[in-house]
């Protein structure tokens, strides 16, 4: 009965959010620009809501708590790198937006094609982006399944519910495009804020009396958990500094991020947005308190189960309606970013592969229609992969995390180095992915350095060497 009550609340939250967003987007006339980048009309606040909505996923919240549960202070790296990423965004996002506005760009692949004057590079970036997006959508489904299973008190196998929830979300994106994702983000951000305040403040106060007492308990039982190991030790200060810097580079170059950057009304809207986004990181630190509390209340979880640590505390010690609200917020944190990813994945295929490479669906009307159809195809593909191969999905994710950062040198070089060529950027990305993904898959960390970092080095070396050896295409459009 408890499970039914909690799951009912989750369902009400998900369907209520979709209803709210449908009201928000009514009477918007759809063309590709409206559908994919919101008509380039979003101001600072709407943009803030959208970006917070698509950046912070279920795994951000469950993962931070889980990391704090098992490691303690190293989990602070998430708080640090997100904040650094917004310093980079302050400079990079308005520059990307300007190129997008002047050239009517819709996707990240368009950016590469325009700046490097190479259609082949655009198509290559589109294909690689698509290959990264599908597993990233899939991992959201795994997050949703964990949530629904716990919300159902383990009584239900949530697979069918995951499929239904996800397909409803896909048909929602089919109807509304990026504007719908932004409206859904409004509800998601408010509910996640409430859930995180509950997890990070109410739980520690309820069990320990105050945050001070929580830290006293942690210090008494695990005196080393509230600082980083020294120097080169695993999860030590050097690991912290290098991982924080690397992760910050990858944070803003995901294909879905380009869509939200293009959706801005002006460069200054993006600059103000970069100023306000760090405040969202405070929520991430609250999840660390939740993870530390869960470690004291319910110790003994190991491996991937640590990600469930704080939800299990809610399940065991709070009434079903509280669990339902928390899990509902978590479900939105899976579905809202997934909707942005579906749209980004569909837009690179429609615009850059079908449109630019094969000359299909180039009118506004047919392009909007094809994007909608591809949204559903991508959704079914992600769902199919998830159902067939749930375990290997986590390994596929290495492609996303280590691959996505490899777009960074090409984006920056497009602005700061006139000599950079399409061959240099393209082969640099390939070299970076070819180095980083196998290293990460085999869990090799040469000299204690992160695999993505080694990939970036290879990427930059190839970008520079090949660019010097090739000639930049003559100006043309």
């Amino acid at each position: 009965m408890n499970g039914l009550a909690a799951l009912t609340i989750v369902a009400i939250i998900v369907f209520g959010t979709i209803g709210f967003a449908l009201i928000g987007v009514r009477r918007v006339k759809m063309n590709p620009e409206q559908y994919i980048v919101g008509g380039r009309s979003f101001g600072t606040i709407f943009l803030w809501v959208l970006q917070a909505g698509e950046i912070y996923t279920t795994f951000t919240f469950l993962g931070i708590a889980g990391f704090a549960y098992s490691q303690g202070a190293p989990a602070l790296y998430v708080v640090s790198y997100g904040t650094i990423a917004y310093v980079i965004a302050y400079f990079l996002a308005p520059a990307v937006w300007k190129v997008g506005k002047e050239n009517n760009l819709l996707t990240n692949a368009d950016f590469f094609e325009t700046r490097y004057k190479s259609r082949a590079l655009g198509v290559g970036v589109a294909v690689l982006s698509f290959a990264m997006i599908v597993p990233y959508v899939t991992i959201q489904l795994s997050g949703l399944q964990i949530l629904l299973r716990i919300a159902g008190y383990g009584a239900y196998d949530a697979t069918a519910a995951v499929a239904v929830g996800f397909l409803v979300m896909a048909s929602f994106v089919f109807t509304t495009g990026l504007r719908g994702t932004a409206w859904a983000s409004v509800v998601k951000d408010i509910l996640v804020l409430a859930a995180v305040l509950f997890a990070g403040i109410v739980i520690p106060v309820h069990f320990f009396g105050s945050p001070r007492a929580l830290f006293d308990h942690v210090l008494a039982l695990h005196p080393h958990m509230l600082t980083l190991p020294r120097g080169r030790a695993f999860h030590g200060t050097l690991w912290f500094a290098s991982t924080v810097l690397l992760s910050a580079l990858g944070f803003y170059v995901g294909p879905q991020t380009f869509n939200s950057v293009y959706s801005a009304r002006s460069g200054d809207a993006l600059r103000r947005n970069a100023i306000f986004l760090p405040f969202y990181q405070i929520l991430a630190s609250l999840m660390i308190f939740a993870g530390l509390s869960a470690m004291l209340i319910n110790p003994g979880l190991t491996g991937p189960a640590v990600d469930q640590s704080f939800l299990l505390v809610v399940q065991r010690y709070f009434p079903p309606w509280v669990l339902g609200l928390v899990a509902g917020a978590g479900a939105l944190a899976a579905l809202v970013p997934a909707s942005a990813l579906l749209l980004a994945g569909a837009s690179v295929i429609t615009k850059n592969v079908a449109g630019d490479a094969f000359g299909l669906a180039t009118s506004d009307r047919s392009r909007t229609l094809l994007t909608r159809i591809v949204v559903v195809v991508v959704a079914l593909l992600a769902l199919g992969i998830w159902m067939i191969a749930q375990k290997t999905v986590v390994e596929l994710l290495l492609l996303y995390y280590n691959g996505i950062t490899q777009f960074f040198p090409g984006v920056v070089a497009a602005f700061v180095w006139k000599r950079a060529t399409a061959w240099g950027a393209g082969l640099g990305i390939l070299a970076g992915v070819a180095v980083a993904v196998p290293l990460a898959a085999l869990n090799v960390t040469p000299l204690g350095l992160n695999a993505g970092f080694i990939g970036l080095l290879a990427n930059v070396v190839v970008l520079v060497a090949v660019s010097l050896a090739t000639r930049r295409a003559p100006m043309s459009s």
């Binding site: 917004y86 001070r212 509230l226 600082t227 630190s285």
Partner: protein
């Protein structure tokens, strides 16, 4: 259209951006301690939280230097 920002302030802008980036990355080497605790929170946690809150002020100041607002 607003005028282009003055380029003479390049060094100042770079410095304003570099300070929070350093504080939140290699800066942790200097503050990797539990004591002194502030309101019960370990010092390392306070340091990072403080820089999360200070970073917007630095970015806003860069915007001022660029005469954007």
């Amino acid at each position: 259209m607003r005028p282009a920002p003055p380029s003479g302030a390049l060094l100042l802008r770079a410095l304003l951006a570099a300070i929070p980036v350093f504080a939140l990355s290699f800066g942790v080497v200097l503050v990797n301690r539990v004591e002194p605790r502030i309101l019960g929170f370990p010092f390392l946690f306070c340091w990072i939280a403080a820089w999360v809150l200070l970073t917007p002020a630095f970015l806003w100041t860069i915007g001022r230097v660029e005469k954007r607002w």
